[in-house]
């Protein structure tokens, strides 16, 4: 066997794999349970004025999505989330949308109706934006496990398959007894400081 040629082909294949992997969209994975921090609890209002608490979703896998009507990548994801809400509706899962539209429900309602959003949408506040603190970017999505812990954070658009694989992985984990906790993230995460006066 020509080992020189063999080693050359191995090197070429390894390089090709490295280049393909770098070009691939963000791969799905969730943090090990020991590395997951509690998702800070909050209470926000939906379009009817009813209070929605994150703790209401105890025991469910939650896709907590911060978005705005003026954000095209956010618009791209919403049909996926509608599909997940339908597909997994009997499996202890929910999407929870937090809109950071400065002009509130007059801006949000027509958009939600047009898109036929089938999951709860609440209007974000300065306080909630601060407790989920870090960089300014939308969409920002937190994948939360049944115990109320953040298993993955996505800043910006990722693939539908990434979300789906992460949801499936978390839904495959057995339920435990725990609850959402209050307070701020222990370590820096994405800040959604959109609700300033100049907006």
């Amino acid at each position: 066997m020509n080992w020189t040629l063999y080693r050359r082909w191995v090197a070429i294949v390894a390089l090709a794999i490295a280049l393909v992997c770098c070009a691939l969209p963000e791969a799905p994975y969730v943090k090990a349970e020991k590395d997951r921090k509690p998702a800070p609890g909050f209470e926000l209002k939906d379009a009817s004025g009813a209070t929605v608490k994150l703790s209401d979703y105890r025991g469910k896998v939650v896709l907590l999505n911060f978005w705005a009507t003026w954000c095209p990548p956010c618009q791209e994801e919403i049909p996926w989330f509608i599909g997940f809400q339908q597909e997994f509706k009997d499996r202890d899962f929910s999407v929870l949308g937090v809109s950071l539209d400065h002009y509130g429900w007059p801006a949000i309602n027509p958009f939600v109706q047009q898109m036929k959003v089938n999951y709860p949408v609440v209007l974000g506040s300065e306080e909630v934006a601060q407790i989920y603190g870090g960089e300014e970017a939308l969409p920002t999505t937190f994948v939360i496990d049944r115990e109320g812990r953040i298993a993955r954070t996505h800043i910006g658009l990722v693939s539908k398959n990434t979300y789906k694989q992460e949801i499936l992985q978390l839904m495959g984990s057995p339920k435990k007894n725990d609850s959402f906790r209050s307070g701020k993230l222990a370590s820096p995460g994405p800040v959604l400081a959109f609700l300033r006066p100049n907006h």
């Binding site: 791209e76 801006a107 970017a137 800043i155 658009l157 990722v158």
Partner: protein
């Protein structure tokens, strides 16, 4: 008189043009407060129609370096000497995967009115 506001965007980012493709999008808009000079109109460059992976249709955007030209009128009653005109530039930027919040940027034009 014409005044030019030159803008330069970070590589990889774009802003919606003054005439965005979708009513939900926040347009680029330069406005001037009333003062010694009267703004008679702002001329925006021709936008680019760019296709992004997150949008099914091309978006009307500006990117790179571009200028906004404002035509000002000097009223006969304008005071002689140095003065300033204040304006506000509203914009909202995105890259290929994410969007930054809408911003308002203060713009100040220093002028010297002479006879």
């Amino acid at each position: 008189m014409d005044a030019k506001v030159s803008l330069q965007l970070r590589e990889g980012y774009h802003v919606n043009s003054n005439t965005p493709s979708d009513s939900y999008l926040i347009p680029l808009k330069l406005t001037w407060m009333s003062g010694a000079l009267e703004a008679a109109g702002v001329t925006y460059p021709k936008p680019l129609m760019e296709k992004y992976s997150f949008s099914p249709t091309p978006l009307s955007v500006f990117s790179g370096t571009f200028d906004l030209i404002t035509k000002f009128k000097v009223p006969a009653t304008a005071p002689i000497g140095p003065t300033s005109v204040s304006g506000k530039l509203r914009y909202q930027a995105c890259n290929n995967t994410m969007c930054l919040p809408p911003k308002n940027l203060d713009v100040v034009l220093q002028v010297d009115i002479s006879k």
